[in-house]
Symmetry: C2
């Protein structure tokens, strides 16, 4: 680890979002910061990449960091562009967020914030995605500052397992009400969706995706949902291997 580590900061709410402003201000304490973030909101982009159209980047200077770029691509594009083109080297740390809204449990697969962190880990850097369970544009990111710093310091000091990143979610609580950090697994949960049907001014139907979050195991105490519901900052180690190992044996009959 060099004296001044290189820290890549990205997000999915776009380069102008308050969440990345706060995260960048924290990151500057720890190293040389390069920001490569989407030029517009990219929420819900999951692990999308841009392969059927072109990518553009623009130098910007909103966060007073070493270098900063707005990119027309997805959060994952931003990480790939930073690592393979702008830095031409593995950053010592990749930070994504702070997302305006929860990325706990199943949200991890829809989340651009977390996909950027997963991509950082795939590229070989310790990576952390931060999310605050508050969708408001005026969300207060300061209340969990000491925990964010603790997690960043730990990632810089202790080698994280290769290919593993952290999914950090912060409850919407006052500083004095946050009980601490809980390391947890991803809760089994899902969205029960509803499509809100409307008519445009020309009489044609259109839909908004909406729905309700359902935790399938509210009693389990080792999940991120439990940690958040009980006042803790949740930390879930995340990796890109989606193999359902427990199903391998059952499927073997396909081979005969």
């Amino acid at each position: 680890m060099p004296n001044r580590p290189t820290i890549l900061v990205t997000n999915d709410d776009g380069v102008f979002a308050p969440g990345i402003k706060f995260l960048t201000s924290v990151a500057k304490k720890y190293g040389k910061v390069i920001v490569v973030a989407p030029d517009k909101p990219q929420s819900g982009m999951g692990h999308a990449i841009t392969i059927n159209s072109t990518i553009r980047i623009q130098k910007t200077n909103y966060h007073e960091v070493d270098r900063e770029y707005a990119c027309n691509g997805t959060p994952v594009d931003c990480v790939k562009m930073a690592v393979n083109n702008l830095l031409k080297a593995r950053p010592d740390l990749v930070l994504s967020g702070i997302n305006h809204g929860s990325n706990s449990s199943i949200n991890v697969i829809y989340s651009g914030t977390m996909s950027a962190a997963v991509e950082g880990a795939l590229e070989g850097s310790p990576s952390i995605g931060f999310s605050l369970c508050d969708y408001s544009i005026e969300a207060d990111f300061t209340q969990a500052k000491e925990y964010i710093e603790k997690i960043i310091e730990s990632a810089l000091k202790n080698k994280m397992q290769k290919g593993v990143c952290l999914n950090v979610n912060i409850p919407k609580l006052k500083k004095e009400d946050i009980k601490g950090i809980k390391v947890a697994r991803q809760a089994k949960a899902n969205w029960v969706e509803r499509f809100d049907e409307r008519k445009d001014p020309y009489g044609r139907e259109y839909y908004w995706l909406t729905g309700e979050f359902v935790n399938f195991e509210p009693e389990a105490k080792d999940t991120d949902e439990w940690a958040l519901a009980n006042g803790y900052v949740s930390v879930v180690p995340i990796q890109a291997d989606m193999t359902a190992y427990q199903s391998l044996e059952q499927l073997k009959s396909l081979e005969s």
Copy 2:
């Protein structure tokens, strides 16, 4: 299971792609087919969903099925729209593909085809994503027909584990050269990216994402990459739990 199961067919190459035409023709043998597929190519969309803009659907009739819709959203949007709005019930089977190009190993997280299958499993249906390792628009999908049928029949007969879907990749081989089916785990692999830099007619830079696939464990014989390289159709069970369980213990020090 009803006599005529309801089968949802989707993809990420769009409703007009030859791959979905072939998969739909196979699916019709087994049940009542509803097609809900993107109205344009959505490759590389991963698990993206449309939350910042509206979704539209249009009734179409290219595949002579029970019902068919083109949707302006992502592959995952298509599944959500089908299950929650158009069918208003869980389909008995969700088929996605056949993708024009491989979705083996790490490609699973970038793939719209596979994300549609993962979404189907999350919604509670047995789900299978099919991909042929041939990017050509004139790819021959017929050579693996007997394997595709075998895997569909197995999914309809045997209850698949809840939340688990199948990632099926077919090697680009003649029928007589395919050796059979191998159940495998997702290989550890990644893309080493390069950004191809060009200038537009106005002198401004733009980039194309390109790169080379690297299998980090070419010797391992239990991976999908090995199966494909050795002439087998690979079948990987996939689930949405991305928790890196092996890292939970190591991270516990964060709690103190």
